[in-house]
């Protein structure tokens, strides 16, 4: 048979699923972004970490409720305010069959924290490990992390680091580990089709994962495929067509469609990203607290959450998510347009003010809804859409650079759910995310003290106190924490979305 004849024959067989070597249980995830690299120490993207997390395990991990539990570590002991010991589980195998030891853990953490440890380069993830002074192996099976100063969120941050094989990295170098892997995770890499899909298969010798997260044992599905579909309309279509089983970042307006479709449903989980409007305290109008209060009373959060976010968000009155450490009930500036008008008049603007609110294209609709509510009370707001990088350069400036602009509708993620990662950068004087230009020495002192306070109750109390101070000063309009929304096939069982936006597929099954 000539090639042409075979071609024609194949064409004649035409419309049917192509199933060369398709496995019985292939779980396909329609995912927004490809991994930048497979090297756990050499990236800065959440999406990259999501893919890597299925190949590699960490010392610690989080369960679906964000509780930090041991994974490769058998136990964790805090020896002193600055010293942590991690006893490493015995018998864990890398994907090449070699045994993982405490030396591999030390090598991994050194690679992230020591300057120039990656062939002269420093890991871009060094800042996620805080003030590490040294990492040592003690007594063969224990790894000791010594800090330069107390840093109570070390356990909350450790799930961000995955353990690599020392021998593998030394043999293959940083370039080798960027495109191949030798982890200890529930899946191993079959093929990475860059920009299109990452194909993984079950690692039969998997040690089982965190003992605190059932089920323990090898993964349920044969293969996992992260199929990269950046466009959300196409991701939804792929789910509806049955091409994929789980999609992330389902737009709120597609929820009804996914729920109405036979065989698919929506799953949500409380997210960790706080949305707010920064008011420029160094600007023309918002230096007056009455104008800020007027803006707060102008906004009907519940209406916006209902109408624009489909009800999928929790309102906030401070920067912290209700699920975050140290979060507490705060006084609320209720929706009261008359009060807003009065406050504005008291501030010397009985005829209202004209301002501009910056935001990214993705948030234009929401920003316009906020603007219309503000305009109703006399804060006549025009929405200016900018590109993320350009707005970052304008509104997120470390140091004392004078800010221009009136308002900035934006958000800040808090994957660790610890205030250190969100409260400090957005509210400490001159910090890099302090878009409002807020400066309050009392808040700074509380944030600095809380960063190193080891007494959990005391630390939570400090954040509570700081939250009350900012609630009164009101440098931002605190809005909401949206839920992460997933579209899921009814065939998927055992999987739960996680608040840190990672998609861990060890427990997922297909029926």
């Amino acid at each position: 048979m000539t090639t042409l004849q075979r071609l024609l024959l194949a064409s004649a067989m035409a419309i049917g699923p192509v199933a060369t070597g398709a496995h019985a249980a292939d779980l396909v995830v329609g995912f927004t972004l490809d991994a930048d690299t497979l090297d756990p120490a050499n990236h800065r993207k959440r999406e990259t970490e999501t893919i890597i997390r299925n190949l590699y395990d960490g010392l610690l991990t989080r369960d679906a409720n964000m509780v930090v539990v041991p994974e490769i570590a058998e136990s964790m002991t805090q020896v002193s305010p600055t010293v942590y010991d991690f006893k490493i589980r015995a018998g864990i195998k890398f994907h090449d069959g070699s045994l993982m030891t405490a030396e591999d853990v030390k090598f991994t953490l050194d690679r992230v924290t020591v300057e120039g440890a990656m062939e002269g380069q420093t890991s871009p993830r060094a800042s996620l490990m805080g003030p590490v002074a040294s990492v040592e192996v003690v007594g063969g099976d224990t790894v000791r992390i010594t800090l330069k100063e107390p840093w109570p969120i070390l356990p909350a941050m450790l799930p961000n680091q995955q353990i690599v094989s020392k021998a593998f990295v030394e043999a293959n170098g940083s370039q080798g580990i960027a495109t191949s892997e030798n982890g200890t995770g529930p899946f191993r890499l079959v093929e990475w089709r860059k920009g299109e899909s990452v194909i993984l298969e079950r690692f039969a010798d998997y040690y089982g994962g965190a003992t605190d997260i059932a089920p323990v044992g090898p993964a349920c599905v044969d293969r996992v495929i992260f199929k990269i579909i950046p466009e959300s309309a196409s991701r939804v279509a792929a789910l509806l067509a049955g091409d994929v089983h789980i999609i992330n970042e389902l737009p709120a307006f597609s929820m009804a469609q996914v729920n109405a479709n036979a065989g698919t449903h929506v799953m949500t989980v409380n997210g960790t990203r706080s949305f707010f409007v920064a008011m420029n305290l160094e600007g023309e109008y918002f230096d007056d607290p009455r104008v800020r209060q007027a803006a707060a009373h102008a906004i009907d959060k519940n209406l916006l959450i209902d109408k624009i976010l489909g009800g999928n968000a929790a309102p906030i009155d401070g920067i912290l998510s209700p699920d975050a450490f140290g979060a507490s009930e705060l006084p609320s500036y209720g929706y009261d347009p008359e009060m807003a008008k009065k406050l504005l008049a008291d501030a010397g603007f009985p005829n209202g003010i004209d301002i501009v609110m910056d935001t990214e294209g993705a948030f234009k609709d929401t920003a316009e809804a906020i603007a219309s509510l503000l305009t109703k009370v006399g804060i006549r707001t025009t929405v200016a859409v900018g590109e993320s990088a350009q707005l970052t350069a304008k509104w997120r400036v470390q140091g004392k650079a004078p800010k221009t602009g009136d308002m900035y509708f934006s958000s800040w993620g808090n994957g660790s759910l610890d205030p250190f990662d969100i409260f400090t950068p957005t509210h400490r004087t001159n910090d890099r995310g302090n878009s409002a230009g807020y400066a309050n020495p009392a808040v700074d002192a509380l944030l600095d003290a809380a960063a190193t306070e080891l007494d959990v109750a005391k630390r939570a109390g400090m954040y509570r106190e700081a939250e009350l101070l900012i609630n009164a000063d009101l440098p931002y309009l605190y809005l909401w924490v949206p839920q992460d929304i997933y579209g899921v096939s009814d065939r998927v069982t055992g999987w739960q979305p996680s608040a840190d936006s990672r998609i861990n597929l060890h427990d997922a099954c297909l029926k």
Binding site: T3, R6, L7, L9, A10, S11, I15, V18, A19, T20, G21, H23, V28, D34, D36, T37, D39, N42, H43, R44, K45, E115, Q121, T122, P124, S127, S174, A178, T179, R193, K194, G195, E196, S197, I199, I225, K227, I228, I229, P230, E231, A233, S234, A237, A238, L240, A241, D243, S388, A389, Q390, A393, K394, R396, W412, N414, I422, T424, P425, R432
Partner: protein
């Protein structure tokens, strides 16, 4: 064309590429947005750690120095490391380029194969219902946003009828062993017909979406030039000689009418590469267009610089190719 002319044209590439390098470099540097701040995102970081990150990316050095380092390395074929992929930019681009070229070529074929017959038919049935429909159709073809049209095709062919896949270049279950990087060719060379068929089904919707505006343009060009040719004396003469209508149309008229179509097609192929960005996003096509746009947003300077240079080379070569084609089709023209 003489060898001397060929070398002269190739040498013209040098100032073009130097100019493009300088313009891209300066534009990226002047555009607001700090790659380091974007990379850190929503994290707490000490100023020292931030400075170390900046040093690692080579962004601590003055811009003039960075430009000459870039130029010096580029001359040796080293375009630096992608900030995000942490691998040589040349590697990252070469992984994605074949997908873009393959899609563009198939879109070009789709456009030529549909536009030329439709254009000819519209010309010989001038002012008929068909001609009017073709006019409206080509207007729609140029004005329909690729994004909308692509999603519409997906909803019909993938979601409603389950005939074609939603996205990607080939199914994850098909084995790929690359030779040329073009999956349609590689799967055939390997004799893997199911994989070929899989790749073929994947490329249909993106190629049609990408090729649609070009089809519309080429159809109009073909129609107009065909009408012009049909008015020529030699066509009237051929008709008068009693040659069959078919022979007059296809042997005498079409050959000359195609000259503008072919040269427009060659030049428009460059815009196909640009148009890829949207189509690649809608169909999850793992090409270069999507990567470049993502890189622009992230201020991934090395990748953007190298990719824009590559686009410039392709554009210049396509123009060059169009010129050659023109001389081949029309011997009266000399380069």
């Amino acid at each position: 064309m003489s060898l001397g002319k060929l070398i002269e044209r190739l040498l013209q590439l040098v100032p073009v590429l130097l100019g493009v390098s300088l313009i891209v470099f300066v534009m990226m540097a002047l555009t607001p947005g700090d790659p380091v701040q974007i990379m850190i995102g929503d994290q707490n970081i000490t100023p020292e750690q931030e400075a170390e990150l900046r040093r690692g990316l080579g962004l601590d050095r003055p811009i003039v120095e960075r430009f000459f380092v870039f130029l010096g390395n580029a001359l040796q074929g080293d375009f630096g490391q992608s900030f995000y992929h942490r691998r040589p930019v040349a590697d990252v681009i070469s992984e994605r380029l074949p997908a873009t070229i393959e899609l563009s070529l198939v879109a070009l074929i789709v456009a030529l194969v549909t536009a030329i017959p439709l254009g000819v038919l519209a010309a010989i049935r001038k002012n008929s219902i068909f001609d009017k429909l073709a006019t409206v159709g080509s207007l729609l073809g140029v004005s329909l946003p690729g994004f909308w049209f692509g999603i519409l095709l997906i909803m019909l062919f993938a979601v409603q009828w389950h005939i074609l896949p939603v996205s990607g270049r080939i199914g994850y279950s098909s084995e790929i062993e690359t030779i040329t990087g073009f999956l349609l060719i590689d799967t055939l060379l390997r004799g893997n017909l199911p994989a070929f068929w899989d790749a073929f089904k994947h490329i249909i919707l993106p190629a049609v979406t990408l090729g649609l505006p070009m089809t519309a343009i080429l159809m109009r060009v073909t129609r107009t030039s065909m009408l012009e040719v049909l008015r020529q004396d030699y066509v009237t003469f051929a008709d008068a000689k009693g040659l069959s209508r078919r022979r007059v149309l296809f042997r005498h008229a079409l050959k000359n009418a195609l000259i503008p179509t072919v040269s427009v097609a060659a030049i428009e192929t460059g815009s196909l590469l640009g148009g890829n960005m949207i189509v690649e996003t809608v169909f999850g096509w793992p090409g270069l267009g999507r990567l470049v746009v993502e890189s622009i947003f992230l201020r991934n300077y090395p990748l953007v610089q190298a990719a824009v240079l590559l686009y410039a080379v392709i554009y210049v070569l396509l123009n060059f190719f169009a010129d050659i084609l023109y001389t081949v089709l029309n011997p009266r023209v000399k380069l």
